[in-house]
């Protein structure tokens, strides 16, 4: 079994030091907090606190609608598993500007840390490859973060970055959870209107 030593709060700043140049969608729970800490709840990020399973395809709609921008989805393993078929929907469209990042702690942290499928037998890298996503990288320690940074900045997407992290709290960052306000904020910043 692979030893996992990666601290989730350490990941995103190393992978996206240029975060202001990206557009982000996060799924609910821990990854939304990690993402919000990265951008300081910036207007280039739309975080969710519901609609579990919607993050991948929300990012797909954004990537197809903004082909001149790099789009990244930050989502947990529970979120990914809930609509795992979305990996096929992404692969069939093949958006070159879309990066999927799974922060996988192997558990449902928001609801009490109940073990998830990836803590048992499920391999998300193989599922992404099987869905037809050709560029896949797995990182399990801080040593891999430089490679992860290179991975999301080089070549064409779609890319799937599987961050296998230790159990532990996500970044303690409070964000705006009003979806209407977050929609308007994102659109105003992106569309300039």
């Amino acid at each position: 079994m692979t030893e996992i030593t990666l601290d989730r709060t350490d990941c995103l700043p190393h992978i996206f030091p240029d975060q202001a140049d990206w557009l982000f969608v996060t799924g609910l729970a821990g990854p939304a907090r990690d993402g919000a800490a990265l951008t300081k709840d910036g207007a280039n990020m739309f975080t969710m606190a519901g609609c579990m399973g919607a993050a991948i395809t929300t990012g797909l709609g954004m990537a197809l609608g903004a082909p001149d921008r790099q789009v990244a989805v930050i989502a947990g393993d529970g979120e990914m598993m809930m609509n795992i078929g979305s990996l096929a929907t992404v692969a069939s469209q093949g958006p070159k500007n879309l990066t999927l990042v799974c922060v996988d702690n192997g558990s449902h942290g928001e609801t009490g840390g109940q073990p998830g499928h990836t803590a048992r037998r499920t391999n998300l890298a193989k599922m992404a490859e099987g869905a037809g996503i050709e560029r896949v990288l797995t990182v399990t320690s801080a040593k891999g973060l430089k490679e992860a940074n290179d991975f999301v900045h080089a070549g064409d997407g779609p890319r799937f970055l599987w961050l296998r992290v230790m159990p532990g709290e996500p970044c303690a960052f409070k964000r705006n959870m009003n979806p209407t306000e977050c929609r308007m904020r994102f659109r105003s910043a992106y569309l300039g209107a």
């Binding site: 395809t57 954004m62 197809l64 609608g65 078929g85 469209q93 979806p179 209407t180 994102f186």
Partner: protein, 175 residues
């Protein structure tokens, strides 16, 4: 079967033009006889994209993501997929995201498959529960007006809207 041989060719072409004129560039779908010709038209056109889904609710999320960058997407599906959508329809009442769906009905007028009735009969209640307005089409001469109303409700009115193509309009499948 494609092009003019398709039984739904005439109205599908007219509706595709309405969607395109309204600015729709993404046509997400789970395949159904009622949206087959529209999908072909979206694939053939240089300015639009047909996006095959694995489950219907993905189309609501794609519409939300597209909206965030100022683009329009319409979700086309059979009525049986309506039950897959409610949680993601939180984007409508919760986030004020405009969402436009085109639902081809099963499980109502003329249906012969008993498995289709439970979901078909629940479509209106589910949409109403999640705040989606229903624009029903029973006859071809109602289509243009209903489509205009649904398009305007979504992208001028900021609502969730469903253009519901009934089996009176589409015809029932024989078993």
């Amino acid at each position: 079967m494609s092009g003019k041989a398709h039984k739904h060719d005439t109205w599908s072409r007219a509706l595709f033009k309405q969607f395109k004129d309204a600015g729709v560039t993404m046509f997400t779908y789970v395949p159904d006889a009622g949206n087959a010709r529209l999908v072909e038209l979206a694939e053939e056109d240089n300015e639009t994209r047909a996006i095959l889904l694995t489950t219907e609710e993905e189309g609501i999320a794609i519409a939300a993501g597209a909206d965030l960058v100022g683009k329009k997407s319409v979700l086309m599906m059979q009525s049986s997929g309506t039950g897959n959508c409610p949680n993601f329809l939180s984007f409508v009442n919760g986030g004020r995201f405009p969402v436009l769906m085109m639902i081809s009905m099963r499980g109502e007028y003329g249906e012969q498959n008993p498995w289709q009735y439970p979901m078909g009969q629940a479509v209106d209640a589910i949409l109403e529960a999640m705040g989606v307005l229903v624009f029903r089409v029973d006859r071809e001469d109602e289509l243009e007006g209903a489509a205009t109303a649904a398009i305007n409700a979504a992208w001028r009115g900021g609502q969730g809207a469903a253009l519901v193509l009934t089996q009176k309009f589409l015809g029932a499948k024989a078993f």
